[in-house]
């Protein structure tokens, strides 16, 4: 059923469609609408779930961990400072191997106080052991949440997944979203049945003291799970397309087959990049776009395959790892090096703190890369 809705509501309906049974969340701009809609859906009896009002994001994730450990499918949503407050418990969820799904509205980190789009929040949680997806539009937000449960709950994955959507560009922008019927969801998404759960009649010690004899193996098992997750994300994407007609993979290539210059983008910038590619193609420039949809596990094989014929690669980051460069740029460079693919790479930071990245900005970025050898990192649009 098609409805017009903003990205926050798409996240709420994604959780409802995925038959989530427990939500604990704390509101924060620009994620507030996710929480309001979920609260309304539960109160109106449309969504068969328990909704917990909590006093902080740390508590929200802690409550979700408790419910998920009891064998219940859970969901939460946050943004920026809220995600940062969750940091400790994000690690608990991941190392505890609890397939919780979280929608994070990408918002800049303070100070200066900002509510606008920027991926610094989720990038700073890169190493918590969560899988990370960056959505380009509201339909992708909705679909990604449904797929997330199927991927995360796979017995050979069991890792939590974070679905990221850009503040305002998605969270408060209305688009048509095709919602899936419950009977079709039930065919696609089996019920969550964990092997271990908190159960008084079958007691287990969860997340207990772990000696140096065992901790490393648990870390290695998470590495294996992340590798399996890459395969699972692809398989679930194929299955999703068969049932619902929309295709999602680890990456998405746009006009890269014969491209000399390839833009590597994520989130809403990927949409603008595709439009820029069309505009530059009309000018006779062979440009393409590679959207990185899944950031963790990082799809290095797909990225290398997609970029192997490019003469120049430009990575656009709406985030910055202080003291070095944009995080996506680092990952792309590392993936290419791992596979022995060497070519000129440009690390361009743009759109930081919600500054608009238009087709004009991306054209300027392409022109810069075409005109010089790499002088990384670049800060596009900074008023020097």
């Amino acid at each position: 059923m098609k409805q017009v809705m903003n990205g926050d509501f798409a996240a709420s309906y994604g959780a409802m469609s995925a038959l989530v049974k427990y939500v604990a969340a704390y509101p924060i701009t620009p994620q507030t609408l996710v929480v309001e809609k979920l609260s309304e859906l539960v109160a109106d009896g449309e969504m068969d779930a328990v909704f917990s009002k909590v006093e902080s994001e740390h508590s929200a994730m802690a409550a979700c961990i408790g419910a998920e450990a009891a064998g219940i499918r859970t969901f939460t949503a946050t943004s920026s400072q809220g995600l940062l407050l969750m940091c400790e418990v994000l690690h608990w969820a991941a190392r505890g191997r609890l397939p919780i799904v979280l929608a994070n509205v990408n918002r800049a980190v303070a100070p200066g106080w900002s509510i606008w789009a920027d991926a610094q929040d989720s990038i700073s949680q890169r190493d918590t052991g969560w899988m990370q997806v960056y959505a380009e539009d509201n339909q992708e937000v909705y679909d990604s949440i449904i797929m997330a449960y199927k991927i995360a709950e796979s017995p050979d994955v069991l890792l939590p997944m974070m679905i990221n959507l850009d503040a305002f560009f998605l969270s408060h922008t209305s688009e048509v979203v095709d919602l899936i019927d419950k009977k079709d969801i039930e065919k696609f998404l089996p019920p969550y049945e964990p092997k271990f759960k908190l159960n008084p009649s079958e007691p287990h010690a969860f997340n207990a003291l772990t000696s140096p004899d065992h901790y490393f193996e648990l870390t290695y098992k998470m590495h294996l799970a992340m590798e399996k997750a890459k395969k699972r994300i692809t398989e679930v994407g194929v299955e999703f397309e068969k049932m619902f007609g929309r295709r999602y993979g680890l990456t998405e290539s746009y006009r890269i087959e014969d491209a000399d210059t390839v833009l590597v983008t994520f989130g809403t910038i990927a949409g603008t990049a595709k439009e820029t590619v069309d505009l530059l193609r009309k000018e006779g420039k062979k440009v393409g776009n590679l959207k990185i949809r899944v950031f963790r596990p990082f799809p290095q094989e797909e990225v290398c395959e997609a970029l192997k014929n490019a003469k120049k690669v430009i990575v656009v980051d709406r985030d910055y790892s202080y003291g070095f460069e944009g995080a996506f740029f680092t990952e792309v460079k590392s993936a290419l090096y791992n596979k022995g693919v060497m070519k000129p790479l440009y690390g361009m930071m743009a759109g930081i703190g919600g500054r608009d990245v238009s087709t004009g900005t991306l054209k300027e970025i392409v022109a810069k890369a075409e005109g010089e050898d790499p002088k990384n990192p670049y800060f596009i649009g900074v008023k020097l």
């Binding site: 190392r95 505890g96 191997r97 609890l98 017995p155 069991l158 964990p194 092997k195 271990f196 287990h204 010690a205 969860f206 997340n207 207990a208 003291l209 772990t210 000696s211 004899d213 065992h214 193996e217 648990l218 290695y220 098992k221 294996l224």
Partner: protein, 95 residues
């Protein structure tokens, strides 16, 4: 009090899917933290269960009279302090 059955984790495939019941508390006995141990006098015990409720470990079992799990009792003395009939005494174990 624990049964000493060993959890065999010799290779990655021996580990459960989640960090659950890895057996760490079977080997990590905390009794050595203790300088004195609580000893319950069954003749003074009225079976109120207060020691069982207050034990933070929990290392007291609600038997009648209660029994102390000396593998895990850390000797905090809360049970001694809370017992309403002074049925629990403090026995020095200093080595």
């Amino acid at each position: 009090m624990t049964d000493d059955k060993k959890v065999e984790l010799n290779k990655v495939s021996d580990y459960p899917e989640m960090p659950v019941s890895l057996g760490s508390m079977l080997w990590n006995k905390t009794s050595s933290w203790r300088n004195f141990k609580p000893v319950i006098d069954g003749t003074k015990c009225i079976g109120c269960g207060i020691c069982w409720k207050f034990c933070p470990e929990p290392a007291i079992f609600p038997t009648n009279p209660p029994t102390v799990d000396y593998d895990f009792c850390k000797g905090c003395g809360i049970c001694i302090s809370e017992c309403p009939t002074k049925a629990i005494s403090k026995v020095d174990e200093t080595r």
